[in-house]
């Protein structure tokens, strides 16, 4: 279970560029739940995933995972519990190393690295078996540099790497946004399969209303660094793409109202 309590994060505090990316976020995710996050640009979705993953340290609040308070843990230490796939296909793999080497590195996520061989014969067989499961014809390209593969292939492999050892939490930040529609579909299907099969606790950010309406068992909407809507249970099942679009329209109109109000105040007081 992931528990996020009162988390705040401010960028460039005390400068004219100050951004309050997270303004008190509370979120509790049950074990095995698949949560999809949507929200306007700059609403803090990536920041939320980054503070959970440990890429960013928070200003205040508490984050605990599987009953452990991980708020102060550095990123590499959290990786023992968390698997991640990034938006950029280049971020999740070491391009100059082979497919097999990348996978074998991931097969020890969070475990000590010592002087045993990275790739033994038994390991290679296991790798080939798991890669065959992707049905991307990559099992014969295990010795190719992973940088020579397409974005979709790399994202599929990164997903495999992130879940090789079952993580307590899987973080996906728009992991199909940089792909062409066909590859994106492939990676999404794969995501759904793996999450379903392994019963993974998952936090996924997406910009695709289609993905948001069809994936996961809970839907969270963010705006200006806050959670403004949380659909679960029966309500989540009823939610359609049109409902989401309508909700976004509400938010946009409210923002405009805010702006006209601010404009009015400025005219009155300045």
């Amino acid at each position: 279970m992931l528990e996020i309590c009162g988390v705040r994060k401010v960028f460039s505090q005390g400068t004219p560029n100050e951004v309050r990316a997270l303004q008190g976020v509370d979120l509790k995710i049950e074990t095995g739940s698949f949560v999809v996050i949507i929200g306007t640009n700059g609403s803090g979705k990536s920041t939320l995933l980054n503070v959970v993953g440990g890429t960013l340290q928070i200003d205040s609040g508490v984050i605990s995972l599987a009953g452990v308070n991980i708020t102060k843990w550095p990123e590499y230490r959290r990786a023992k519990l968390i698997g991640r796939v990034f938006q950029n296909p280049f971020s999740g793999t070491a391009p100059e190393m082979s497919v097999a080497e990348n996978l074998a590195l991931a097969a020890r996520r969070g475990r000590p690295r010592r002087l045993s061989w990275l790739l033994g014969a038994a390991k290679r067989d296991e790798l080939r078996e798991r890669v065959r499961y992707l049905k991307m014809d990559l099992e014969n390209r295990l010795d190719d540099q992973i940088g020579s593969l397409s974005g979709g292939q790399r994202q599929a492999l990164t997903l495999l790497m992130a879940t090789w050892l079952k993580p307590e939490l899987l973080l996906l930040d728009e992991h199909t946004a940089a792909l062409d529609p066909k590859s994106a579909d492939q990676v999404i299907t794969l995501t759904d399969e793996i999450v379903e099969r392994e019963k993974l606790t998952t936090l996924m950010v997406t910009h695709s209303m289609h993905q948001a309406a069809n994936l996961g068992d809970r839907l969270v909407m963010m705006h200006h660094g806050r959670i403004i809507q949380d659909f679960h249970g029966a309500e989540r099942k009823r939610t359609r793409v049109d409902d989401l679009l309508a909700r976004f329209e509400d938010v946009r109109r409210a923002d405009q109202l805010d702006e006209t109000a601010a404009e009015m105040l400025r005219r009155v007081y300045i």
């Binding site: 990123e75 230490r77 990348n102 590195l105 020890r108 690295r113 002087l115 045993s116 990275l118």
Partner: protein, 311 residues
């Protein structure tokens, strides 16, 4: 002939330097200039221990250990204290100058008549062959030269094999991945800062070992001997990459060794043709500069040509 053998021997010894530079510059993309200090450190430690009558293999190993520590300090300054990598190297290199003087007690430590790896090689060669000159391909070669060359070659073979095998282990692969994509390796649970510190330690250990062997080959350690080492190492690595044309680990290691040997041959030829030894470092620096900008320049020319064709 002895000029050729001398160049080959120094080439092999300094290929350990090239391997060290390969680790810092190529694997980690870390411009580590600790090398100038750590090579002298290795030479100084080995020389002082040899004077004390310590076994040459142990003395060389101690040189490696000294460089290993120095690299660790540079890595720690850069990672833990967030000092710019170049500056961290300069700080340690500068500090090592005083440190090395203290170790040696003076600016030059001669090794006349002391048992060194070179003298070991010589006596072993003499005992095996029972004479002091050989004829190789119609040339007279002293057994001293030949056995020193073979010793240097075997030492490099051993060290580079160990390095290659190390880079195939879980730890070594995590180090390579750190150099390739830090974000990825952190997300896989590796402390990337620790990997860089360890990598710089190994890099400078190798460089110090090169210094220790060089001191034994030339028969003295000198406080000035490290100056320009980093550029020599870079030149070898660049030549090596051009020779093998790949950065795949095994080939890159072979390339660094070949590059170092070829570079030494080129230097020997240039000196033979009358290059002023004082200009050697200038020429090397110019060469590295050219090698660094040439690929980009060539690409530009090719693009212009292509554009001209389209126009």
């Amino acid at each position: 002939m002895s000029l050729l053998i001398g160049a080959l021997t120094i080439g092999f010894i300094l290929s350990l330097l090239a391997l060290g530079v390969f680790i810092s510059f190529r694997i980690f993309d870390f411009p580590d200039i600790t090398a100038d200090g750590s090579s002298t450190l290795g030479a100084a430690i080995a020389a002082v221990l040899l004077i004390k009558g310590i076994n040459p293999v142990l003395a060389s190993a101690a040189g490696f250990a000294g460089g290993f520590l120095a690299g660790g300090v540079t890595g720690t300054l850069a990672m833990k204290f967030k000092i710019n990598g170049l500056l961290a190297g300069i700080l340690v290199m500068t500090a090592l100058y005083s440190f090395n003087l203290h170790i040696m007690g003076k600016s030059n430590v001669p090794l006349f008549g002391r048992p060194t790896l070179s003298s070991y090689a010589e006596t072993t060669g003499m005992r095996l062959l029972g004479r002091s000159t050989l004829r190789v391909l119609g040339w007279d070669v002293t057994v001293t030269e030949a056995s020193t060359l073979i010793t240097a070659f075997v030492a490099v073979l051993l060290v580079s094999l160990l390095l290659y095998l190390f880079l195939q282990t879980n730890l070594g692969a995590a180090m390579r991945a750190t150099g390739n994509n830090r974000q990825m390796i952190r997300a896989l649970g590796v402390n990337d800062e620790r990997m860089i510190i360890l990598g710089l330690s190994i890099s400078n250990g190798l460089i110090a070992l090169a210094g220790a062997l060089l001191a034994q080959y030339q028969g003295f350690a000198d406080i000035q001997m490290g100056i320009g080492m980093i550029v020599w190492g870079l030149a070898s690595v660049i030549i090596g990459e051009a020779l093998v044309g790949t950065r795949q680990v095994g080939m890159a290691i072979v390339g660094a060794i070949m590059g170092s040997v070829l570079f030494r041959l080129l230097v020997a030829i240039a000196l033979r043709l009358g290059l002023d030894p004082n200009d050697l470092k200038l020429m090397t620096a110019a060469f590295v500069f050219a090698a660094l900008i040439l690929p980009g320049l060539l690409k530009n020319i090719q693009r212009r040509k292509a554009q001209a064709l389209h126009a």
